[in-house]
């Protein structure tokens, strides 16, 4: 065989190998995104489970702030009912804002806070809030890495062909941003 044919075959093999590598990186990236998302949902589920307990415990003592409690429960139910990731992101952000409001109110009831079951629940819930925030941060990191892969050169050529599109970030909603700015820090 001629040298030209060897070069041609070598170049062909190189291209095939690099396409396989790109495809594998994209698949692994999508897997990581799904994984990170399921990490968030684990923590969100935990939050959904904890909220009714807290609401039940504080209901009696907080006669004047019943609206605050119903707002939290409504936001929770909406978050559970969400079907698409986009919907879920919006509902969870609203729930985070409502919860911050409730935390601030509970702060104003020292006798409530000193109850052991209330403070344990608040601790548990604020720990879960932190975990949601970090899970979301990790999810966004992974999404960013995948989106760079999809949008940068060579990835760009094949991503669409293989059916990969940019993933959406878990943005902090405008309601929550306002709550972060306004809410006093909760010390437990």
């Amino acid at each position: 065989m001629s040298t030209g044919l060897y070069i041609f075959m070598g170049a062909g093999a190189l291209i095939v190998v690099s396409i396989i590598a790109i495809y594998n990186a994209l698949v692994a990236g999508r897997q990581q995104v799904q994984n990170a998302w399921s990490q968030i949902t684990v923590q969100l589920k935990r939050r959904h489970d904890l909220i009714p307990n807290l609401v039940n415990v504080v209901k009696g003592a907080m006669q004047s702030e019943q609206s605050q409690l119903t707002a939290v429960m409504a936001a929770r139910n909406q978050a559970i009912a969400a079907t698409s990731p986009q919907q879920s992101i919006r509902a969870e952000n609203a729930l985070t804002g409502a919860l911050r409001g409730l935390f601030a109110v509970v702060e104003a009831y020292p006798q409530l806070r000193s109850q052991e079951n209330v403070s344990a629940l608040m601790e548990e819930l604020s720990g879960t809030e932190n975990k949601i925030a970090f899970a979301r941060q990790h999810y966004n990191d992974v999404v960013q890495a995948q989106n760079i892969r999809v949008a940068s050169f060579t990835g760009l050529l094949f991503a669409r062909l293989f059916g990969f599109s940019p993933e959406s970030m878990f943005e902090v909603g405008s309601e929550e941003r306002a709550a972060i700015a306004a809410a006093p820090e909760v010390h437990l």
Partner: protein, 371 residues
């Protein structure tokens, strides 16, 4: 790489992480090269001494001291030199892998740590911060353990992220606010996520093998250093054979003295580089340089001694755990001031801001917070 805080440019954690990784790789290559050169010289020495004593006497008298030195750099090199180089590098790697698998089991017993108790509020907080940082890093949560000592320190151990352990002293746990604790645990999580446990174990082992071989040879040299009747062993050219051998021994002596020092220095430089890396990774996880800066400022004021100098724990602690003043080239950790200066460059946290926060959140002295 130490000092030079004024020349630091503003950077972000992603760039800092990449640069530290590149530096480590370079230093690691250095260490392997040192092992290779040391092995090469030893192999060459063995080979040429064998030649000197087996050659016919007539040929030996034509050889000069100059020939001995030129032979060291001759191409192609002696087979024994190549075997020496490969052997030294392979032994270092093998030793590293061995200590990696055995070391983790010995460590917990070594410092006397126990599992954190979720029923105690402080330890509950520690457990949940460890879980938070694991989530932020996208890794399984490490086992959380406590050492009951008032000293201020923390370290990571384990051969892989799946089997990792984060240990903190009771003193540090009680001295830190939640934000500071996140910074400290983020640093340890960084050691785990960046596979420092493997890096530093293998680097320590590689340097350890070089030091060990050098010591053994020095001992051997002293024992063989006895006057002997040269004529008896070497035939007619005995004295000349002995002189040539002494030239070889002089070259070997230089290698035996220089190699272990060089290896130890490079290994410690790697360790310091990994500390900067873990600091940067901590900020990646917490997105809050202020927490770690405040925690490091606490370490500056407190006693961090939990292990003797040169122990395997040292490179994985948050601050140098021995009495050595950090900052010199024999330290496992960079000076805390330098680390704080670098952290301030990540995302540009103003010094005044940190000072204000420290003043607002930590009015009590370290000593008084230890029960």
């Amino acid at each position: 790489m130490a000092s030079g805080a004024p020349t630091l440019i503003n950077t972000d954690f992603a760039t800092a992480i990449q640069r530290n990784k590149d530096n480590t790789l370079l230093l690691f290559a250095f260490l392997v090269v040192i092992a290779g050169i040391f092995g090469y010289v030893l192999g060459w020495g063995g080979g040429i001494i064998h030649d000197i004593w087996t050659m016919p006497a007539a040929k030996v008298s034509h050889l000069t001291a100059d020939w001995v030195v030129r032979d060291l750099f001759s191409l192609p090199p002696r087979t024994s030199a190549l075997f020496g180089a490969l052997g030294m590098m392979a032994t270092g790697a093998l030793w590293g892998v061995l200590t990696l698998f055995l070391g983790a089991h010995i460590l917990a017993a070594f410092v006397g740590s126990r599992d954190a108790n979720a029923a105690l509020p402080a330890e509950q907080r520690f457990i949940s911060v460890v879980e938070e940082m694991a989530i932020a890093a996208g890794l399984p949560p490490p086992r959380a353990m406590i050492v009951d000592t008032p000293a201020l320190n923390a370290f990571a151990s384990g051969a892989s992220p799946e089997s990792a352990v984060i240990t903190i002293t009771r003193g540090l746990l009680q001295a830190c606010s939640r934000e500071e604790l996140q910074g400290v645990i983020g640093h340890e999580m960084g050691h785990i996520a960046d596979y420092d446990i493997r890096y530093s174990t293998v680097a320590t082992a590689m340097a350890g093998v070089i030091v060990l071989v050098a010591h053994a040879l020095r001992d051997l040299g002293r024992r063989l250093w006895a006057p002997r009747d040269a004529d008896e062993v070497g035939g007619g050219a005995g004295p000349w054979r002995l002189v040539l051998t002494l030239v070889v021994v002089a070259v070997l002596a230089v290698a035996v003295i220089v190699a272990p020092i060089a290896a130890r220095l490079v290994q410690l430089a790697i360790s310091r580089q990994r500390e900067y890396l873990a600091d940067a990774t901590s900020v990646k996880l917490t997105r809050n340089p202020a927490g770690l800066i405040e925690a490091l400022q606490r370490l500056q004021q407190g006693d961090t001694a939990i292990a003797r100098a040169g122990s395997p724990v040292a490179t994985l602690c948050i601050a140098a755990p021995d009495a050595l003043s950090s900052g010199d080239i024999f330290s496992t950790h960079p000076p805390l001031d330098d680390r704080i200066a670098r952290l301030r460059n990540l995302g540009g946290v103003a010094a005044t801001e940190v000072a204000e926060r420290a003043g607002a959140t930590a009015p009590q002295a370290i000593g008084s917070s230890i029960a």
